[in-house]
């Protein structure tokens, strides 16, 4: 793979080569996925008169994944560094803000646990306001109002426009 030559093109800032340790985690994850794919495929039955069967394709993919995991581990050990994705609102010079990501994920999980109980209209409003709060907004009341407008409007859009009734939850009969 050509990645081995990459560090020579872009000399790192530090005097020593930086090894991107988290790429080893990714390699381990890929290896685990590949292995699981192969083990899972072993449990499949091949019928009579079926020359190929459902196993071959997963075997190929799982094996390919294992090979890629090994290649990634080798490349990482040789100093291969990932090129993180840039974007309009992204500042890659700061370290990742795990607190914000954790808050967002937590709010997401809460929303999916509550949605059938409270219904889409309420959950959606709370989800919007909560996410905005996690991302640094401090206008909680306004966010709640905006969220409520969005979720109630989307509920009616699906109900009237598309003929789909999203879960009304505790607002059953009111909406």
């Amino acid at each position: 793979m050509s990645d081995a030559t990459a560090p020579e093109l872009e000399p790192d800032v530090g005097p020593e080569r930086r090894v991107d340790r988290s790429q080893f985690v990714l390699a381990a994850f890929l290896a685990a996925v590949g292995l699981y794919t192969i083990i899972d495929a072993r449990g499949l039955n091949v019928g009579f008169g079926d020359p190929v069967g459902p196993r071959v394709f997963p075997y190929l993919i799982g094996t390919g994944m294992l090979v890629l995991a090994v290649l990634l581990a080798i490349a990482t050990a040789r100093g291969d560094v990932a090129e993180e994705e840039a974007g309009e609102d992204i500042d890659l010079t700061t370290p990742p803000d795990w607190v914000t990501v954790g808050k967002l994920a937590g709010i997401f999980v809460l929303a999916l646990l509550l949605v059938n109980l409270l219904g889409w209209a309420i959950t959606g409003a709370l989800f919007f306001a909560g996410s905005a709060w996690a991302l640094g907004s401090r206008t909680l009341v306004r966010d709640l109002i905006v969220g409520a407008v969005l979720s109630v409007a989307s509920w009616y859009f699906f109900y009237v426009g598309l003929g789909v009734q999203l879960t009304p939850g505790i607002l059953d009969g009111i909406l």
């Binding site: 093109l9 039955n45 079926d50 394709f57 890629l68 500042d91 997401f108 996410s131 966010d143 905006v146």
Partner: protein
């Protein structure tokens, strides 16, 4: 003139008042979502998929045509008014476009982008209409072995040619292929990779994968690295061009179109290469004393036309072969699949009306884009100031709504979050999205063709190689793997030089 008649028929069925309304809604929604920072055309289409749930296939395709071109145009607006392009296809537009905007020529930059997009999109769509039927006619005769080989070629090209790292391209592809395995095996109905879960037995909805990887992944990734400083948005009036600007724009428009279309039509051509080539060409042609580097209108007109022509070109493999070659095409394909439309060589024969209406609506959508968006540009520019917490909260809200509304099952939201995490990871590790999405969509199709071919040969591997076309395509696959490696070894220093030229 058969093609022309069919296209006119398509135009007639697309030109009802109702359909025009759908096209207009599509264009406005597409531009609205596309202008929002952080949302590219593929994400725009994925997020707006649920909106079309209740519609007939034809009408939803019409709406998608509008959303597609609207999203593309929205992206270029963002890159001109903010100096941070959202997707790789707009990088070249941003170089000169933003400099024009800073010199107070934002209106002209937006105008040349919009009109160039219109011209390139129209020419491109007409070319699609003329090429696709003959390719599809040949494509119907393609047997399973050759079809398998062609899909393999598309995957190898997309994984190895695009992006900075081949290794990461293939990692993305195999992640996608693995996701595609989840669910019941098509011929023996045994569950694969479901871990005993009944919900996973139906397979994972591609919409949930796309929205998770694009929207949720992007929102989480941005949350981890949110730029806390307010962005610099350049105010803009109604776009217009003077006589001199027209004179300087029309040639780059046509050259950009000529460069963009062929690249869009081949797998892995994408929009990056033709926009780059167009930029370099215009720069060379303009000579040393040109305005290049200070905001030359040619540098916006050319790449923007190339971008849109390649966006039209991608419909050739999509409609004729069922092969998506860009992320947006992949999402469009997913949309077709959700209507039970089987993409592939038989699409033209099975659903001629749908295909021609779609092509006609692309023409209409393109025209509407110009009519609606030139006057609305100042309004769109204001969208760039939307506060970021609310913007990304809104993206998460609509992503969750999209996943939940499919089956009204919180389980889908959980799956969405998992794919959001995956989307976060691939951004962190620089793994490209396109091979992943392509793997999810083409993987199952590829397995079907492989087993079809091998069943006929009784399991002999030779069954995959018994067609001349297949052998030819395999030769291309080998070339696609070997050539970049050889070139990469030899031309590595040159690439650095090229990069410096752009930076200069």
């Amino acid at each position: 003139m058969d093609t022309l008649n069919l296209l006119v028929d398509g135009l007639q069925s697309a030109l009802t008042l109702e359909n025009l309304a759908y096209a207009s809604i599509g264009v406005i929604l597409g531009t609205f979502v596309g202008v929002l920072p952080g949302i590219g055309p593929a994400m725009a289409v994925a997020l707006l998929l649920p909106v079309t749930f209740g519609l007939e296939p034809t009408q939803s395709m019409i709406m998608f045509a509008g959303i597609y071109y609207g999203g593309m145009y929205g992206g270029s607006t963002t890159s001109i008014l903010l100096n941070t392009p959202g997707e790789s296809a707009s990088v070249m537009t941003a170089i000169e476009g933003n400099k024009m905007a800073k010199r107070g020529r934002a209106a002209q930059a937006l105008a040349t982008a919009a009109i160039g997009s219109f011209i390139a999109g129209t020419i491109g769509t007409l070319l699609v209409a003329f090429f696709t039927p003959s390719i599809a006619e040949q494509a119907v005769k393609i047997g399973a072995p050759s079809y398998f080989a062609i899909m393999l070629l598309a995957m190898v090209l997309v994984s190895s040619v695009l992006g900075a790292s081949r290794l990461r391209g293939f990692i993305g592809l195999f992640l996608g292929l693995t996701i595609g395995l989840i669910g019941l095996d098509l011929s023996t109905a045994q569950p694969r990779l479901t871990a005993g879960s009944l919900e996973l037995a139906d397979g994972i909805d591609i919409v949930v994968v796309a929205v998770g990887v694009f929207a949720v992944g992007e929102a989480l990734w941005t949350a981890a690295h949110l730029r806390r400083r307010p962005v610099d948005v350049i105010p803009v009036g109604r776009p217009f061009m003077g006589r001199g600007d027209w004179g300087r724009s029309w040639k780059p428009w046509l050259r950009g179109t000529a460069l963009g279309f062929p690249f869009g039509a081949v797998p892995a051509g994408g929009a990056e290469t033709p926009t780059f080539l167009s930029y370099v060409t215009e720069r060379k042609l303009a000579g040393r004393d040109s305005e290049f580097g200070e905001g030359a209108i040619e540098g916006v007109a050319g790449p923007e036309a190339a971008n849109n022509a390649s966006a039209a070109g991608m419909f050739v493999p999509l409609l004729a072969l069922g092969l998506p070659v860009t992320a947006t095409a992949a999402v469009l394909l997913a949309a077709m699949q959700s209507y039970g439309i089987i993409p592939g060589p038989t699409l033209m024969a099975d659903q001629p009306e749908l295909v021609w209406t779609l092509l006609a609506s692309l023409l209409i959508g393109n025209t509407l884009l110009l009519v609606i968006n030139l006057p609305l540009a100042p309004l769109w520019a204001r969208l760039l100031r939307i506060p970021r917490p609310q913007l990304y909260a809104g993206i998460l809200f609509f992503a969750a709504l999209g996943a939940y509304s499919v089956n009204q099952d919180p389980f889908d939201m959980a799956v969405l979050l998992v794919f959001g995490a995956l989307g976060f990871a691939i951004r962190r590790f620089g793994i490209p999205v396109l091979p992943l999405i392509l793997g999810v969509i083409l993987g199952p199709l590829m397995e079907v063709k492989m087993r079809e071919a091998l069943d006929l040969s009784g399991g002999e591997v030779s069954g995959l190689f018994n067609e001349g076309l297949a052998l030819f395509v395999y030769a291309l696959v080998v070339l696609a793997i070997v050539v970049p490696i050889v070139l990469g070894r030899r031309a590595a220093p040159e690439r650095v030089l090229e990069q410096e030229e752009v930076d200069r």
